[in-house]
Every structure is written in C-alpha cells, then in structure tokens.
C-alpha cells in the first residue's frame, strides 16, 4: 500500500523522479527529507503569536501561558508535531490567508470539535500533532 501513496506524495514535488536513472535536484530531495525529520528544539512562543513553527518536530521551551505561535500554511501532506517542555498551555493559530487556497484563512478542527476554529490550545508536556489532509484545513489529536 505504501508504494503508490509514497510515489504520489513525491511526484507532486519532484516530477523528475520518474523513469530511468537521471540527475535529480539535490536541494529538493533535501527539502523532502527536511519535511520528514527536521527538528527545532528551542522554539519560543510570543504574546503576539508571530513566531511560525515550521519543523516536523518542534519543541517549545520559551514563552508564558497563553502565548501563541503560528502554524505554517495548511498544505496537504504536512504534519507538524509540537512538544511543550513545561505544563503551560499555549495557542496555535492558523494562517489568516493561504495563497494556495485562494487567500482564504486556514482552519483547524480540534479533537471532538463540531465546528472548525482558527486556533487551538496546545497543552503542556505532550506531543500535539497537527496534520493537513486537505488544503486549508488542519486537524489535531487533542
């Protein structure tokens, strides 16, 4: 099952990855790996929420309860995992305008929510996962 899905994911970014052996773009390949295993271990949230979490694995070490951060643009296939090292609760905000989705604001569906929101609480000392299966839409496990 994984092979066709993997090819679909790769092909949308690297169309030259088809067919016979050939030269490929090392930088794009590096970007793909970055999307899978990149880490940021000293991320800080801020009162104005301007800092954007962009790495696959992000550890929040700075900020005060109620401070916030910005999720990246909601593009299908993206997953951001956030870990807070304290018991503080922070807020994840969606992008106010997604150029990949006609400029509409991104939205998020927290766990068990019946309507989407533009932000979600992130609890301390857990890994919270944000994943995008549809353009402009985040889901989260808490």
């Amino acid at each position: 099952m994984s092979q066709p899905i993997t090819e679909t994911l790769l092909d949308q970014y690297l169309p030259e990855w088809n067919g016979a052996p050939k030269l490929i773009t090392g930088q794009l390949l590096g970007n793909m790996v970055s999307a899978e295993i990149s880490v940021e271990s000293d991320f800080a949230v801020t009162p104005d929420g301007s800092h954007q979490a962009t790495q696959a694995l992000t550890q929040i070490t700075g900020g005060n309860p109620g401070d916030s951060f910005l999720l990246p643009l909601a593009i299908p296939g993206t997953q951001i995992n956030v870990y807070i090292t304290t018991l503080a609760t922070f807020v994840a905000n969606c992008q106010p305008s997604n150029p990949n989705n006609g400029g509409l604001p991104d939205i998020i569906w927290p766990l068990l929510a019946t309507i989407p929101s533009t932000s979600s609480d992130v609890n301390g000392a857990i890994i919270q996962s944000f994943y995008c299966p549809k353009i402009g839409v985040w889901f989260t496990n808490f």
């Binding site: 994984s2 993997t6 030269l23 490929i24 773009t25 090392g26 930088q27 390949l29 590096g30 790996v33 970055s34 899978e36 295993i37 990149s38 880490v39 940021e40 271990s41 790495q55 696959a56 694995l57 992000t58 550890q59 995992n81 870990y83 090292t85 304290t86 018991l87 609890n123 301390g124 000392a125 857990i126 890994i127 996962s129």
Partner: protein
C-alpha cells in the same frame, strides 16, 4: 537548520545544490529509515533492560508477550527519529530507553511520559495500545499516544 543538515548529511552528503548523481544505497537507507517495519515481535521475557527486545524499525508490532511487563528497547535517541510501537497483545509491556547513547557522550537516554516534564529510563505501554516515541532533543524520547 544545523540539526536538519546534520540529519541529512548522515545519509546523503550529496544532497545539496542542483541536479546531481546521488548514492542509491544512501537513498535506500533513507527510505528504510522512514518506512521500515517489523512484525511478529516477542517482548523480552523477564521485563529487564538486559532482556528487552531491541526495536529497529520505524513501525514495530509486538505480537507476543509471555508475561506482564516483558520488555522492548528503543533505538538510540537521535533528533528526527520517530518510532511507532503497537502492542497488540492483552498484556502490558515495558519500553526501555538505551542505557548508554554514544551519540550523546555515553549518557543514558530517557523517556518523557505524557504530561510529565521529567524523563525516566523506562515506560509502561498498555495492552492493545499503539504509542509513538519522538526524539527532538538528543537523548530524549517524548511519548505520544
């Protein structure tokens, strides 16, 4: 970004810049790192660190547990690593971190359970539960369920 480059360089030092030949062997290793799985695992009998079954794959299924708290061992905690462990038995298992990580000065790895900001050398995993262990900081696994 330094950590990211370091992770990439471990596998494919040629992965920079424009079109170029790359090592197929290293690309395969990356694919294995991201997609490999192991089924049919039996947890180490006795529940000790020494007896723990060493997990090697990103996706592991523990199918056999003789006694409650029999054990498995996580690989070295290297940033960017994600290990999925499914315990599909009716008995709980003990998941150990490595007692000594050569990539972290020989210090022991630790596991940070959910809602805890303190690392521990091992963590229980309940029956019929699938957990995910993330490493963001060298030597530290963060537990996710």
């Amino acid at each position: 970004m330094d950590i990211i480059n370091s992770q990439i360089d471990k596998y494919l030092t040629a992965w920079h810049g424009g079109p170029q030949l790359i090592s197929g062997d290293r690309l395969q290793k990356l694919a294995i790192e991201l997609m490999n799985y192991e089924n049919g695992i039996q947890a180490g009998v006795g529940g000790t660190l020494a007896a723990a079954y060493p997990l090697k794959a990103r996706y592991s299924i523990v199918n056999f547990v003789n006694n409650e708290s029999d054990s498995v061992l996580l690989p070295f905690a290297i940033p960017g690593s994600i290990i999925n462990v499914a315990n599909i038995t009716a008995k709980g298992i003990t998941v150990y971190a490595q007692a000594e990580n050569p990539h972290n000065g020989g210090l022991p790895d630790s596991i940070f359970p959910i809602a805890s900001s303190t690392g521990v050398p091992s963590s229980g995993q309940s029956p019929f539960v699938s957990n995910i262990y993330y490493c963001i900081v060298k030597g530290q696994w963060v537990l996710f369920f």
